[in-house]
Symmetry: C2
Subunit: 240 residues, 2 copies
DNA sequence: CCGTTTATGTTCGGTATCGTACACAACTTC
DNA sequence: GAAGTTGTGTACGATACCGAACATAAACGG
């Protein structure tokens, strides 16, 4: 297994000039993120950030009554723990591994040192944070105006973009938690998509058969977020 | 009218050490923001940022079908135009003056110069941006889980926190646009609050009679956001 | 192989919000 | 003070989603 793991599998790290990446990489530690692990809890002091490579992580808010909502999803295009460089140290959200995989862990101390240099890393992190802002805002809009069917499509597409292959390991129950709706609502919506031949699922495995079909059926929110990520992140490479 | 206007009416500016504030102030220009003015439109290149003193500005997303939602509200505790220092230059949202008043305008060029110094201004702006992130995330949660009644309370409280006095100039129609619900829904919710003796309104003027009552009736979202702002922003002054 | 757990399917009444339509009342304009 | 505009009140059926209860069916563990 040669070159199985490389920091450049993460987009933000890949966007760094060689010398910066080399300096940073010395401090990175590859970690395995099992499904369901919480990288941090609401309000807890965060000690490190994570650059996912193959893992996908959800940012969730949990209400006093126990109900929850996903407000953003982070994969190999991003970083978990923006509050460490934004200055707040903690956030009211939780970060939970939605799809098992790997990530590079970076101590908060080293992150802050690098951030204050004001170089490419700072630039990349801030641009990513703006993309994250857009994703959260669009989630707010989507929660207000769109149907569960549309939101399920959006969610599948966002996850798909952060995975290799076309299969997700995820029960309807968990998707319901993410979307903040009932499990039955997801069953129904997923049923629609399956009858339409867009997906095929069974017991926690969802295979996407017709990606274009999902894109046609979802709301504009997916496209807005995707476009904004494409606008903000490729531009990274033009910085130098 | 002595001392009618002072940059320190804005919290972020007030948080700067004297020498920084003095340097920055030379470039600030006081502007009047009339009700309904758009400080920037979706996707348009932003040339300046605004530090409100007495004005309140809503960040709105508008959908293809014309419906809209407020995703955050900014008053004298914040700044309009975070994308200028985050690096994206534009955002998909609009910024509309919700309550007429004043703000200090700062050219993007000067902002960027100051930001790259990495001093107190950068620190303050990033912390504020994190607070904004929290507000957006909580809006997403609230849109999913809470009733119009609760959201109206939250909205009134957030506006009240950014105003002097207890009266808002705002029609139910406009509030409905902000919350992303029908005007009739707001009429009904406002009726509930009025019968309960919490507010009194007529033709675009809303007087809050019982603030504590509103706090009791709203969802936890208001408190979460408020607490997070209090945590992130007072801490600014402990930076030096 | 059998019992248990886990994932999904189905039903049913309840409710919040929607979309639409229209009435009325207050302020504005001429 | 008549006419128009603007802000609010009310009523109606339609519908998307909820909460709860229960049914089936696939995987798992002994």
């Amino acid at each position: 297994m040669t070159a199985a793991h490389d920091p450049r599998q993460n987009y933000l790290l890949a966007a760094l000039p060689a010398e910066d990446l080399e300096r940073v990489s010395k401090r990175l530690k590859l970690v395995e993120l099992p499904l369901g692990e919480a990288l941090y809890e609401s309000g807890s002091h965060q000690r490190a950030v994570y650059f996912p490579t193959t893992a996908i992580v959800s940012l969730l808010y949990t209400l006093a009554d126990g109900s929850s909502v996903e407000i953003a999803v982070v994969g190999n295009e991003g970083i978990i723990g923006v509050s460490l460089f934004m200055g707040g140290e903690t956030t009211p959200s939780r970060a939970v591994v939605q799809s098992a995989g790997y990530a590079y862990r970076w101590q908060g101390k080293f992150l802050k040192e690098e951030f204050t240099l004001g170089g490419p890393m700072q630039h990349v992190l801030l641009r990513y944070t703006q993309a994250l802002l857009t994703q959260m805002a669009q989630t707010a809009v989507c929660n207000r105006h769109h149907s569960v069917d549309q939101q399920l499509c959006r969610w599948l597409l966002l996850s798909l973009d952060r995975l290799v292959g076309n299969e997700l390991v995820m029960t309807q129950e968990l998707i319901a938690n993410m979307l903040g709706v009932r499990r039955e609502g997801v069953t129904e919506a997923a049923g629609h998509l399956q009858s339409a031949g867009l997906i095929k699922y069974s017991r926690g495995r969802i295979k996407v058969l017709d990606r274009a079909g999902l894109e046609a059926r979802t709301c504009e929110c997916y496209a807005v977020v995707k476009k904004e990520f494409d606008r903000l992140l490729p531009a990274i490479t033009q910085y130098y």
